[in-house]
Amino acid sequence: MEKAHKPKKVFVQGPISPDFVAKSIASHQSKTGIGAHAIFLGQIRADQKEGGLVTGIDYTAYEEMAEQAFHNIREAAFAKFELTCMHIYHSLGLVPTGEISLFVFVSSPHRRAAFEASEYIVEEIKANVPIFGKELVGDAGFIWKENT
């Protein structure tokens, strides 16, 4: 029910499941003006750090500012590219290694707009949305992640 009133809600608790991605794709099959979907998924890597392997990332955010930043990115992308639909989901809380923390889904009549919008949105999110990530390392260590 809450979803229906907040269609632009971006944050989800924990990992984003492949099944959720499938449901999102399926819900676009009635939009017959769409010719191209571009999907980006960010997955947690088991990077080797000094203290051991990364086992997951614990995400927090300045939620109100982040939702506004996502809104701005969405508006800018709709203005720049010929898009039919755009959906962005990002995890909060713990996302274990191998699971998905970011799901960007854009749809357009034509592939060029979909490709360009997908890249644009992902880069904007990495640079401009106040989300913080604590990489859990080995048994008890951690490193604060920093986007490059």
Binding site: Y62, I131, F132
Partner: protein
């Protein structure tokens, strides 16, 4: 004057809290607030962070006008 301050990520860990009310004798610019804050939490001195005033990243010369929500933002890590 007084305003809300929010700490995120590693800065919340250093401060030992995520929210507090900041009381200052008179008007403050963002830069003056930053200096007071680093006096209170010296361990933040070698950390990178930006300061947002009412959800907008602000320059040091900006005067803080109350009511204000100030946020200390460490490097972003979305994605």
């Amino acid at each position: 004057m007084s305003f809300q301050v929010k700490y995120f990520g590693m800065l919340a860990e250093i401060a030992g809290l995520s929210d507090e009310v900041w009381n200052a004798a008179g008007g403050l610019t963002v830069g003056q607030f930053r200096a007071q804050m680093l006096d209170k939490y010296p361990a933040m001195r070698d950390k990178k962070f930006k300061i947002a005033v009412n959800q907008k990243i602000s320059e040091d010369f900006v005067l803080i006008e109350t009511p204000a929500e100030i946020a200390l933002l460490p490097p972003f890590a979305g994605g």
